[in-house]
């Protein structure tokens, strides 16, 4: 699991090494580190890190250890890798149901409705879906389409 962590470090020598120690101790693998010197505010410098932890518990322990040594944490959130999924739906589509389905961490990034030249309505939908959930989300959408007698065309 990758996490986006931003720390506010005192602008003094040795502060970065001190902050990295708990990360290493809890098994964090640092993927990137950006020392944002230009955002220097009242003696503090923001440092943005992308860290890979094997579990959420390791992140939690790291946060506790950082707080214990007085490191200020501005942000710590999981980075969810997403895949863009394009779909076409043909039939009487219940858009409200589709939008209200609210699959976790999935968002609709594009919607195009055709000017119908046939009886059947047709929409193209672009979704940003967590990469690990693509199959599950597609299965749910397939199930919904079947219930609504709508043809769902997904990308290969």
């Amino acid at each position: 699991m990758k996490y986006d962590i931003t720390l506010a470090l005192a602008d003094r020598p040795g502060q970065l090494v001190k902050a990295l120690e708990p990360i290493a101790k809890n098994g964090g693998n640092i993927i990137s580190i950006v020392h944002e010197r230009e955002k220097h505010v009242e003696g503090f410098v923001p440092v943005s890190l992308v860290v890979d932890f094997s579990s959420k518990a390791n992140l939690k322990k790291t946060i506790e250890d950082l707080i214990a040594i007085d490191v200020v944490i501005i942000k710590s959130e999981e980075i969810i890798e997403t895949t863009r999924v394009t779909l076409i739906l043909i039939g009487k589509i219940d858009l409200k149901r589709l939008i209200e389905a609210k699959f976790e961490n999935t968002r609709i990034s594009g919607l195009e409705v055709s000017t119908p030249s046939s009886k059947e309505a047709c929409i193209k939908l672009d979704l940003e879906v967590p990469t690990d959930n693509v199959e599950w989300v597609l299965d749910q959408l397939k199930r919904m389409s079947k219930e609504e007698d709508v043809i769902l065309i997904s990308s290969i």
Partner: protein, 336 residues
Amino acid sequence: MKTIIVGFGFIGRDLVRVINEKRDIIKKYDQDFKLVGVSNSKGYIYNEEGLDLEKLLKIKALSEYRINYKANGSSLELIQKSNVNLMVEATPTRIQDGEPGLSYIKKALSKGIHVVTPNKGPLVVAFQELSALAKKNNCEFLFEATVAGAVPIFSLVRECLQGDKVKRISGILNGTTNYILSKMHFEETSFELALKEAQERKISEKDPSYDVDGIDAACKVVILANALMNRNAKFEDVERLGIRGITQDAVSLAKRANYAIKLVGTVDKKLEVAPKLVPINHPLCVHGTLNAVHIETDLANEITMIGYGAGKETISAVFNDVLTVLKKAKAAAKDN
């Protein structure tokens, strides 16, 4: 090697033509190759000394061959009585029970006769059983033409990817539906019009359900799964949706987003035939009556093959299977 052809329709006749035209290639592997029997549902011709191929090519009905013709003689009888090494089984496909081809293939393999077939029916119904029977009787059982016609997918995996594990297969496996969808994509016609044109051009049957409802593609998915991924899949295992419901609006929406809608067969965790959005720059995005098969393996990664899936090109696959049998028999004779 003595050979019989069971089924004297389009492929059976075309094979006689190719055997006649390409005698030199056959002789490279077998100096004594002879076509000794041909049968259809009305009777058979059998002559142990070999049939006159020129004469065979001129006749419309087997009865016109006159000598050596047995009216109402069954193909099973021909297989039983003939002392042959190879049978090319080319009867019409019936996917409900695989018959009559299934019985012919079982009979031949049980007698130790090598079998080449372009007939999907028997493979869809009883692939594992037929493979086991061939193995038990030390026979070749080759069926290259059953999937994607002239595209040598089984030969490729058998000969060139011997150490690879096939992980996933997807493909455009039906030329008729690809023709219809290509018409809709490029000429912005409706499904109904594109189908009508396919029927007028004899690309589709009068009853198009076998193609447009994905039945043909589903048969090929079953064969691919069983032959290349060692599954024990049945026709009923394939989730299937055809192309009848595809509207021109859907095709246009896809096109604006740089996709084409194609009927894609997939062998993955699940077996599926369904219309899919294929990016226009993807190797599977072929048009007209072309077929394409995309395989993913552990060592070679991704390979795509493109070619004609039905029609006159299919004979290439059948003839290559015949040559493969001759070549292997020659190698085996050398070893002994």
